[in-house]
């Protein structure tokens, strides 16, 4: 949606914008919203959207169709949100184009669809208002009581959304809707009523720590940058979210880009910077698009540029697209990339808050960190610091993925235990399998075994256990995951992504990978584990940046908690989880086989033989362990040992 050219000069204009936004959020007629973040789209949401759009047009219905970001429950996508004035809002799950058409026909008739309902909401908590926004519900629930309330849904019950506050609730391309949920009012207060020291003090007292992985105290960083000498300073948003398995930054940029902008403008004002950069991974095209639209709208409305909200403060933002390098997520490498060089980190003795981009004071923060800022200023440091633990205040977004029932993005107060997250919010492990480990912190992190499930999620607790918080990726693994394979996977990733400068990182990850590769191929030897530990130690100590400095974590933590698996691979040439191709065999259970011939047909190396009505057999000499036969077998007769 394009902005309508109305500049927001002050509070009155902002209020007018909010009024328009409120009308869009809560119209007087039926509104259907399809959640169209990248996760939704990959589940087919745009087909659902098109189907509903066509139906509305065909039947000439007076229904508004909108899109929003993701409300977090990716497992159940596509999600469609139905707003009928006077009734509770309902979110429908696992929608298809056919269901979408059926749903809209039912709604047009005034009927209720219950079976597909995920949850209903009757009020919204807006941080910028004192009371929850309650919907006016006129004639009772009328059957909707069978659909759980949002706050009773197992996935949502224990969540507390600060950074994700607007995702799934607003159209990310509407600045009006952002203000209708309180957006930019805090900025107005900051620019007109608060001084730089006051703002920085508030952020310091809140205890906010960087959400990108390092967990450095944000307030202290801002203070150092503000105090640094130089009349030209920069603020940077690190949106180069590279941890495989983590996608919270993508979600915030796709679903609520203005929250990041507002945070950056507040930070820039406090620090005394007038230029900002947002460095986004180029593998996130929708996020790049949405933040671009948001910047354009903010510029049109005068919320970016000169004399913001009549305060005399100038601030502009530029978007930089990443070039496909994980190491660019490291702050000094990111700055080198913005300057037009390869993303090679540089020595840390020179602090970037004093000498960063083009040797000028630069404050870099992660997307999630920036998104927290408006709420912290609005509600105050006391409010924020009551949430979380002693050393880790506030909430954290986690991407709960892997072998877990309820996959998606969650935001919970720091200090919640891993057990609560995996079993209560996550709904446990699917297919009755046993939990094995949860990997946190991406390639810089480690695996937490079952014995430590009662660990509170907290920066320091996770680091002590040999892992780290990182950006919040939480990958759940079950008995069918091989931990040696996991270590090899991460080491392979780091070896490819290393910039290649330091001997310790480049050759350290290479050599660890070679050893892990041998072990998974049944060529491990006595002493390999000790050698891995030795290389791991040196890589950690000798490397320049955090990529090398944490590269050994996946290896060392899996050795620490799953040494028996390594030993089985090395001594017995056995993969207990049944994963490593060289150490497993595919066989056809003669009692289960129905001789349908499907596997024989699909086998790429013609390794399966069997006449009609005779159980088929796999020739082990020809078998390449591709797994195709197992996939196509209609009766699950292919066994892996």
């Amino acid at each position: 949606m394009k902005g309508e050219g109305m500049r927001v000069r002050g509070l009155d204009d902002l209020i007018k914008l909010r009024e328009k936004g409120l009308k869009r959020l809560y119209p007087d007629k039926i509104k259907m919203t399809v959640e169209m973040a990248t996760c939704g789209i990959s589940a087919g949401a745009h087909h659902v959207y098109e189907a509903i759009k066509d139906r509305i047009r065909e039947r000439k219905l007076d229904i508004t169709l909108a899109k929003s970001g993701c409300i977090g429950f990716c497992q159940r996508e596509p999600l469609v949100d139905v707003w009928i004035p006077g009734k509770p809002r309902i979110i429908y799950q696992e929608m298809t184009p056919e269901k979408g058409v059926e749903l809209i026909d039912l709604i047009a008739k005034g009927d209720l669809q219950k079976e597909w309902g995920l949850c209903r909401t009757e009020e919204e908590v807006i941080f910028f208002e004192d009371e929850p926004r309650r919907y006016t519900i006129e004639s009772g629930l009328e059957g909707r009581e069978d659909i759980s309330l949002y706050q009773d849904v197992e996935f949502y019950k224990k969540q507390f959304k600060i950074a994700l506050r607007n995702c799934g609730y607003i159209d990310p391309e509407s600045i009006d809707e952002y203000t209708a949920r309180g957006g930019y009012f805090t900025l107005h207060k900051v620019l007109h009523e608060m001084k730089s020291d006051e703002i920085i003090n508030e952020v310091k007292r809140s205890g906010l720590r960087g959400r990108g992985g390092a967990g450095f105290l944000t307030g202290r960083k801002w203070e150092s940058c503000q105090k640094a000498r130089g009349d030209r300073k920069y603020v940077v948003c690190n949106a180069d979210e590279g941890d495989p398995g983590a996608y919270m930054d993508r979600s915030v940029l796709e679903g609520d880009p203005h929250s990041v902008l507002e945070g950056m403008i507040i930070g820039a004002y406090a620090i005394g910077a007038h230029e900002g950069y947002i460095y986004v991974r180029n593998e996130y095209p929708l996020a790049v698009k949405n933040i671009g639209v948001a910047i354009k709208q903010a510029e049109e409305k005068g919320l970016l540029g000169k004399d913001i909200l009549g305060s005399g403060f100038d601030f502009t933002v530029t978007i930089n697209k990443g070039g496909g390098a994980f190491v660019a997520g490291e702050s000094t490498a990111l700055m080198a990339s913005i300057e037009g060089y390869v993303a090679e980190p540089r020595a840390k003795h020179i602090h970037t808050v004093e000498s960063g981009l083009w040797d000028r004071p630069t404050n870099l923060n992660n997307v999630e960190t920036w998104a927290n800022v408006p709420v912290i200023i609005e509600k105050g440091a006391d409010w924020f610091s009551k949430i979380g633990t002693e050393g880790s205040k506030g909430t954290k977004i986690f991407s709960l993925v892997g072998k877990i029932n309820n996959t998606g993005l969650i935001e919970v107060p720091m200090g919640m235990t891993l057990r609560e997250i995996v079993y209560e919010i996550g709904g446990g492990i699917p297919d009755g399998k046993r939990f094995k480990a949860v990997q946190t912190g991406g390639p810089s992190g480690g695996c937490i075994p079952e014995a430590l499930l009662d660990l509170p999620v907290d920066f320091d607790a996770l680091t002590e256990a040999g892992s780290m918080m990182g950006s919040g990726g939480m990958i759940v693994m079950d008995e069918s995951t091989c931990m040696v394979d996991v270590a090899k996977y991460f080491t392979d990733f780091l070896k490819d992504e290393s910039c290649g400068k330091c001997t310790s990182c480049r050759d350290g990850t290479l050599r660890m990978y070679e050893i892990l590769d041998r072990i998974t191929k049944g060529e491990g030897k006595e002493g390999d584990i000790e050698l891995l530990e030795e290389i791991g130690w040196a890589t950690t100590e000798a490397s320049l940046c955090a990529l090398g400095g944490t590269a050994a974590n996946p290896v060392l933590s899996t050795i620490r908690y799953f040494r028996d698996e390594y030993e089985a691979h090395i001594r017995d040439k056995r993969c207990p989880a049944g994963v490593c191709p060289a150490l497993i065999t595919y066989t056809i259970d003669p009692e289960a086989c129905i001789a349908c011939g499907k596997c024989k047909k699909e086998c790429p190396t013609k390794a399966i033989t069997g006449k009609k009505k005779v159980p088929h057999e796999i020739d082990q000499a020809k078998c390449i362990k591709c797994g195709t036969c197992k996939e196509v077998c209609p009766v699950d007769a292919v066994k892996v040992k």
Partner: protein, 150 residues
């Protein structure tokens, strides 16, 4: 790419050498790779060495010095996709296309690459073809997808 077309790109980025990565990305988007001739021209017009440009072109995975296929197939190898069997999907596509990861088919129809996480972790294994994201795949389904693009 003609000099005039290049000039348009350079102008869009204010002829600034610090914008060289964005300039190269625009050339890549237009030509499907970075032609040597164009890079020589960029070096000249921005007054930077060809060596620096070549260093950038070989460092960043988004840039390619050899032509990419008409269709870009990216198998996600993020951790969540990996534990759900992404490697097997990749190997199946390698067999189907007759290329290794990183390669392009002889007829320049397909380029097969991996990408580490597009952020659709709940829907793994995931394959991205020409920017379209397909989730909840297995070997069969991924293989069938390619046929729609042939």
């Amino acid at each position: 790419m003609t000099s005039a077309q290049l000039e348009k790109i350079l102008k869009r980025h204010d002829h600034q050498s610090s914008n060289v990565l964005a300039i190269l990305q625009d050339i890549q988007a237009s030509e499907n790779y970075l032609p040597r001739k164009t890079l020589d021209e960029v070096a000249e017009k921005l007054n930077i060495s060809l060596a620096r440009i070549y260093k950038l072109a070989t460092f960043y995975r988004a840039l390619s010095l050899t032509p990419k296929g008409r269709h870009l197939v990216n198998v996600c190898m993020g951790t969540a996709c990996h534990v759900r069997g992404a490697r097997m999907v990749l190997e199946r596509l390698e067999r189907d296309l007759g290329v290794q990861e990183g390669g392009t088919t002889q007829d320049l129809n397909f380029s097969l690459d991996t990408v580490r996480c597009v952020g659709c972790c709940s829907l793994g294994p995931v394959v991205v073809i020409d920017g379209e994201i397909y989730g909840r795949l297995n070997q069969e389904k991924a293989s069938k997808l390619l046929k729609d693009y042939s």
